[in-house]
Amino acid sequence: MSDLDTFRAETRAWLIANAPESMRAPYRTTEELCWGGKKVAYPADVLRWRDACVERGFTAPTWPREYGGGGLDKASAKVLAEEMAAQRLRPPLIGFGLSMIGPLLLQEGSEALRREHIPAIVRGDIRWCQGYSEPGAGSDLASLQTRAVADGDAFIVNGQKIWTSYADKSDWMFLLVRTDPAARNQDGITFLLMDMSSPGVTVRPIRLISGASPFCETFLADVRVPMANVVGRVNGGWAMARALLTHERTMIADVFRDRDDADRLRTAARAAVGVDALGRIADPVLRDRIVALEIDQACFDLTLARSRDAAKAGARPGHESSIFKLVGTELNQRRRDLAVRVNGPQALGWDGPGFGEDDIKATRDWLRSRGNTIEGGTSEIQLNIISKRVLALPEK
């Protein structure tokens, strides 16, 4: 028996013994998972599952042991993922700490920053949020206006961040600030880590057209951030940001993959317009429209699969993430729109009597989906990236 087989057997046994039964049920939203941090009270079984995994290094399986990670090699990590999947286990811990700032710190952070933050991320003690966007800088991130002025061993930060997911539930924020107002757009930017409990930080949740949202505005008034919290070098924040942006785009495309969506739409259509003598959705025009969507969806899913196969075969990733972001979000919009059309008059409910919960959810999902092609880099930006970086079309 190879080491890997031994690891698989041990891991399987450990998972069977330690994962609470409730953690084996599929989840509908990520709100049911553990994002860590001090501000949210999680159910006992969620915490028990997380803490068991923390102890074994399974919340960050490939990160170095010295920082609390699992220290697993790629092959072992794959085995762990397979065994988790086989037992349909929920991830024990998620969030921007594990997916974004943690990897960046491991790669670019000072030893002091790693020591301070990585173990806390692995344990889920600290929840992170991302302070990039500003009201005046949408797609043009490099034009951001939040200023940081040196004052002894600290920066004094003033400005406003927007679209910060879960800022109200996070303990720390990683953010971009302008440290050299005289430099060309991208050159005077610095990547900072900021404690959200610092004096001068105010958070206001944003309501969307679809209702409550995880997004917040964060106002920064004379917030003091130690110089030691710079990642990379002062005025060298843009390089940090770029690596993370690509990462975010892939994540967003992934969010829109839900295998049950097709079934839900089909079932709703059958319920709304009935079925014909052959058992088909009775309205042929509606049927064709749904089928056209599902065919495009299938082609997209196959493209994601092809990209994974290419990665397995050793191909280096290009700018597929832009394609995935663009197509994935547009497909989701088409799906949410069709769901509303299928529901017809029942789709008009915001709340209350006469409208079913599913109908209301479908309508709010449609409203929410309109933001998909804006957040995480607008579709227009993705098209710019594809035409310039992939197709090498000339600048004007």
């Binding site: 800088a137 317009v273 025009v285 008059p345 008009l348």
Partner: protein, 357 residues
């Protein structure tokens, strides 16, 4: 039959535009969303004093006798401001039902509608009837009605209800005293009033037989298109202004050719929608194939308004997605208007049938 406004109609449009600018802000519209009846009785009275509810109706019935095109220009301006006052329910639906229905009831009700003294709602939709007008399970028998209607526009505030019900010869319309039914305010995405109406053997007077409801819905569909035209025009205008002022990468975003071409496409669609809407109102005034003209316009405007609203948000970026920003109000209204009286697919199918396809 001309497709341009005459001078009087242009003056009326100016007046309505001024009215919206001074009396009906989007802040007001926003606040009314949680209101019991979803509109302002005071503003409705002002509109009545301006003679708007009576514009299309004959002078001998208290109207201005000016025809539907006059109402069109008012609806367009109110639509631009998303004003929720009950022109669709009381004037378009209620008014045309009385206009084409029983003469005695007509003489009784139309003058009061024209004067703004009476609010009417037409209760024709039931759970699961989708866009069909003849699938009512509500029944009229022995002078009373039993059944339940849903999403009755203007239902919470109406003084009188016109209810579709199976009666002798098919689905007819019946007039019911609104104070004698049970009404539950519903909450739709545009915040305007809609109600569930429960009729438990309420006394009812026959207004008209089969065919009347379809005719009423055609008139209301055409008027709704005028409102939609105004709203999509406003959403487009907001977007055009934004394209000219918002800068990214050091230039106004309206200088990006890809966005310019998209804006141009929206503008063209608006022009096509205007033609279809003008035409439908002209047919209504001149007499002609009203059903076909209504379906033509609604088939076109249903998707066009939605598309304008969606593109408006995309071109605004994140800010357009916030509850604080007004574009969301237009998007939600676009969806309600799309589905009201039948969506684009429904009206394409109907136009096809009426045109021999």
């Amino acid at each position: 039959m001309t497709l341009v406004l005459d001078e009087d109609q242009k003056l009326l449009a100016d007046a309505a535009r001024d009215f919206v600018a001074t009396r009906s802000s989007l802040k007001r519209v926003r606040a009314l969303r949680d209101d019991d009846i979803g509109f302002s009785r005071e503003l409705w009275r002002e509109m009545a004093r301006l003679g708007w509810p009576g514009l299309p109706f004959p002078e001998e019935l208290g109207g201005a006798g000016l025809g539907w095109r006059y109402l069109m220009v008012v609806l367009e301006e109110l639509g631009a401001g998303l004003a929720p006052e009950p022109l669709v329910s009381t004037v378009l639906l209620g008014g045309s039902a009385f206009l084409y229905g029983d003469p005695d009831l007509r003489r009784e009700h139309l003058p009061r509608i024209a004067a703004g003294d009476e609010l009417v709602a037409v209760a024709y939709q039931e759970a699961g009837t989708r866009y069909a007008l003849d699938r009512a399970t509500t029944r009229f028998a022995a002078g009373t009605i039993v059944g339940e209607k849903v999403q009755v526009m203007g239902g919470s505030s109406a003084d009188w209800l016109i209810v579709s019900a199976h009666g002798p010869g098919g689905v007819g319309l019946y007039v019911v005293d609104a104070t004698r039914v049970r009404r539950t305010r519903q909450h739709r995405i545009d915040g305007r009033d809609a109600a569930i109406v429960r009729l438990d053997g309420v006394p009812a007077t026959p207004l008209g037989g089969p065919g009347l409801l379809a005719r009423v819905i055609d008139v209301a569909t055409i008027g709704l298109c005028a409102e939609m035209l105004g709203a999509m025009g406003a959403a487009f205008a907001m977007t055009l202004a934004y394209l000219k002022t918002r800068t990214q990468f050091g230039v106004p975003i309206g200088s990006f050719q890809a966005l310019q071409h998209r804006a141009a496409r929206l503008y063209i669609d608006l022009e096509l929608c205007r033609s279809a809407t003008m035409h439908a109102h002209a047919v209504l005034d001149a007499g002609g194939d009203v059903a076909r003209a209504a379906s033509l316009a609604k088939a076109k405007l249903s998707d066009a308004f939605l598309r304008v609203a969606e593109e408006a948000i995309q071109l605004h970026g994140g800010i357009g997605m916030t509850e604080e920003h007004d574009l969301g109000l237009y998007l939600k209204r676009a969806r309600v208007a799309e589905i009201t009286f039948g969506d684009a697919a429904h009206h394409r199918a109907r136009w096809a049938e009426l045109s021999g396809y």
